[in-house]
Symmetry: none
Subunit: 201 residues, 4 copies
């Protein structure tokens, strides 16, 4: 029931859209649902965003994740895991946005966005670290693990992973990452930096 504040309305619509699209996927979400959640008229969605798809794009485009490249290299994988495991991602319904987006992966657009996000924030960053022969493949294998952990945690909710904190995974992370990247990797993030890591925007 907020009124006459374009920016506020836009923001509320984006937040509601983010949540719905994450939880139910593109198809199962109706613009009316989003409007109802936001307490605004559905037609404003078209005034502000043009179409359902454009709203989807804008709602999911902004990658609200912390910058993984900030910090020591040997903690990169640990930071990734922390982002997946310790972050609560309430704005995306409690799931890592990448995982949530898989729900809309029937649409080529969403697929493309997933692709880009995975490559940009995981594969490329890891490939730069990997030593030796098939660096690309090993970077992808490690990326796959990150994504898989996110999925088992939130959509499958397997008992141990669902409860685990990044700290519990640290030793395994360290050894597998070290193994796959061919260089020593840490399983935990240094305390002095970790505080900046969980404050989402």
């Amino acid at each position: 029931m907020q009124k006459r504040d374009r920016e506020a309305t836009r923001t509320r619509l984006l937040e509601a859209a983010r949540l719905r699209f994450a939880r139910e996927g593109y198809d199962a979400t109706s613009v009316r649902d989003i409007a109802r959640d936001s307490g605004v008229d559905a037609t404003l969605i078209f005034r502000y965003f043009g179409s359902k798809k454009q709203l989807f794009d804008q709602a999911t485009a902004t990658a609200h994740s912390p910058d993984l490249l900030e910090g020591p290299q040997e903690e990169l994988v640990a930071r990734m895991v922390a982002t997946i495991v310790d972050h609560d991602w309430t704005e995306y319904g409690g799931e890592h946005p990448l995982v949530a987006m898989l729900r809309s992966s029937a649409h080529e657009d969403a697929r493309q966005r997933i692709r880009q996000e995975v490559c940009d924030t995981y594969v490329i960053a890891l490939r730069d670290l990997a030593k030796g022969q098939d660096a690309e493949l090993r970077a992808e294998l490690l990326s796959a693990w990150m994504v898989g952990i996110g999925i088992l945690r939130s959509v499958v909710a397997t008992p141990a992973l669902a409860e685990a904190r990044a700290a519990d995974l640290a030793p395994h992370i360290a050894s597998v990452a070290t193994d796959l990247l061919g260089r020593p990797m840490s399983g935990t993030v240094d305390q002095s930096r970790s505080e900046g890591e969980s404050d989402q925007t």
Copy 2:
């Protein structure tokens, strides 16, 4: 003859449903799509299965995967990878059924089915092999990897993994599996057994 026809129609509907649900997800698939694909009247779906949801349940219930438990224990993970990487899964639109099902994971039913499939065919089997303290967690971490590999291969289609065959992954599989399970694991499946793996259509 009557009976045969009925059964044949049911089968055709299930196959078409499987493919559509896998490719487009539950919501984007209409019963008329499935009926058209099968060349039968849409109302038969309701006669035979009761509702769209029940058809979905039946179409996705039958896990058409080869039995992973058959064969030597140290090749279990290799068999899993082969199932994900070397199998073409044409009946599910070219994606591992687990991956395809993620597309419908907004629906609790589908989620439940994913959960069960992951637990039954991955986590439990791996947990039985894991040695030492946090066996469950390590089994889940390895399961997560399997799922992640499936996703990066087919939905994200990262360059190296999309092209890779199980053989290319063998050394990495072996070392990570060995590491996580705490016992020596092989990265490849023995030839003499491998033939039973791909003969199903």
Copy 3:
């Protein structure tokens, strides 16, 4: 409230569509209007015709006019006038279909249909009769007169033309037609043939 008779429903929809489209034009007519007029559910329109536009095409395609070419040549123009003036065109809301269609002439499709109808049933038939130099132009000028008479009669409803019967126009028709075509034309249709002229199908 008729029920379970596909053909009857289709026909009722077409009739209602014809009337609405004629009276109100394409844009001002909603598929719900047509459905309500027909007493059937609006979705049947899409089942049977695919879209509003296709319904429009089918409703307006069938030129329910008597064959103007049947009969003596010197009575051709008289037959045209009779078709416009003496025919009541109740199925098109009391207007000649050509005139009614002008209401939808913002749409290129309708325009094209008008063009074809005018050329096929007026210009070409008259051009074949015209003697001398600029036969095409004179045929078109006479066609223009036919169309103009239809418009003044029904949409403008000028007092004299609105009330006039073909017989009242006969002498003027004869002299102008004779003049423009360069050959003797009759203003009236022979009685023995005229009966077949006003029974519409």
Copy 4:
């Protein structure tokens, strides 16, 4: 300056409305279209004109046609034809306003305006010239021809008429007009007057 702007905006809105309504008809034209064309906010339309319909009325009321009564009587019909054929009517999208208005003739208001325009500027002027018995009818028949010519030229676009200039039609105009009015009529307008005919924008 304020006043000037307001007046200028009103004028721009009227011009844009005139063009849109002529080209697309009342229903297919949205107030936002008109506002966008004019480069002003849509709500100004309601401030200035009250409603879409009132804007339509005002936009189409002003008959921007040259005064047909000025000039020698025997050239009246020739002047009418020139107005239809030689005038380019860019402000109405290239069609004679009467013809354009037919597109909106589902609305009684537009119909009324057409009626009035046809009667005032054609029928009455011609009736005053007609000699003999059924003067009214003959005046209307000649008016019908004028309107028909306009329609075939612009909406139907028959080949010969679409290209023709008033001069090409002159002989036929002269003979038919003479015939129908019962008095000698010229097919062309005298040069010395013709200049006043096209100077309006």
